[in-house]
């Protein structure tokens, strides 16, 4: 996965990695026990399945999906239930976040609409 595609500004892409989920080789929650989770809660910590991507110096992109123990005060730990949070780390504006509270089919349908309007506006 070489350095590609952020370049010219127009038609700009997110990371242009050319990878697949199998190459991510995620670690899931199977080994988690209730006793461990309850003990962590007593210590004001929680476990979350966190996804991380990082562009390395050689231009490739490293991806990780694994459970992480987080303090309750961690921003990620505050994302409850079906809500989702994505933080994009950039060179010019630091970290930019998108938080979606309790998404459902209405939000998925809106994403289609957003793309449709984007295409119509670009023709």
């Amino acid at each position: 996965m070489g350095r590609r595609g952020q370049g010219c500004g127009f038609g700009k892409r997110l990371m242009n990695a050319g990878t697949t989920p199998k190459q991510v080789r995620p670690t899931g929650l199977r080994d988690l026990t209730t006793e461990h989770v309850v003990q962590l809660a007593k210590e004001r910590k929680t476990v979350m399945l966190v996804s991380r991507g990082q562009r390395l110096d050689d231009g490739s992109v490293k991806l990780e999906v694994r459970p992480e123990v987080l303090d309750d005060t961690d921003m990620l730990a505050g994302v409850k239930g079906s809500s989702n949070l994505l933080l994009l780390h950039t060179d010019l504006v630091g970290t930019v976040g998108t938080l979606l509270i309790d998404p459902g089919v209405a939000q998925t349908a809106y994403g289609l609409f957003l793309d449709l309007v984007d295409i119509a506006g670009s023709l």
Binding site: Q6, G9, G11, R13, L14, M15, N16, A17, G18, T19, T20, P21, Q23, V24, P26, T27, G28, L29, L32, T34, V37, V38, T46, M48, L49, S51, R52, G53, R55, V61, L63, V65, L76, K80, G81, S82, N84, L85, L86, L88, H89, T90, D91, L92, V93, V96, T98, L100, P103, V105, T108, A109, Y110, G111, L112, F113, L114, D115, L116, I119
Partner: protein, 211 residues
Amino acid sequence: MRLALIGYGSVGKTFARLLYAKRTVFPFRITGIHTARHGTVYEPRGLPIAPEFKPSAASVAEFLDTARPDVMVEITTLNPETGQPAISHIEEAFARGIHVITANKGPIAYAYSALRGSAKRNQVKFRFESTVMDGAPVFNEVRNNLPGAEILGFTGVLNSTSKVVVEAMQRGLSMEEGVRAAQEKGIAEADASYDIDGWDAAAKAAALANG
């Protein structure tokens, strides 16, 4: 602008209602819908939200050749192992010069480079905003609102089922009981292993990295 939908479950119907609600400002028309379960329907003047389906077209190719849309909206069920049949549906549309929107993360996770190349060769657009954050703008944000900025990396909590399961376990419940709680909320599929084993989050991470 004429739209053809492949798949018409809850997302498709909600999308159709949204288009109807916004029709005076955004004059898009759904002129064809093709599903494996209900059949196929065409109407060049625009379909109602609850159309009367006829027997299924023999293939997606036949459906597209009859519907002749400007944009195909691919919203079939995800096959997490391969990304098919959505990848083939998208290729059929590109080959006919039809723009494609999908909410299906499989094609982005498994075949994005090839699909992007195909879209470019056929001079059509390919969009997939709903694949990672359920419609909150991520790809559009980067494309349209972060000029000059390079994405160095990302951090996300992108899988809902895993959070609901851990929250149940914090209350002393088992993982299986947590999975049932997620299923009762309508978040988890009948087979929640795709979420619990991290594949949903991996597919979204791959989609972000590829996009």
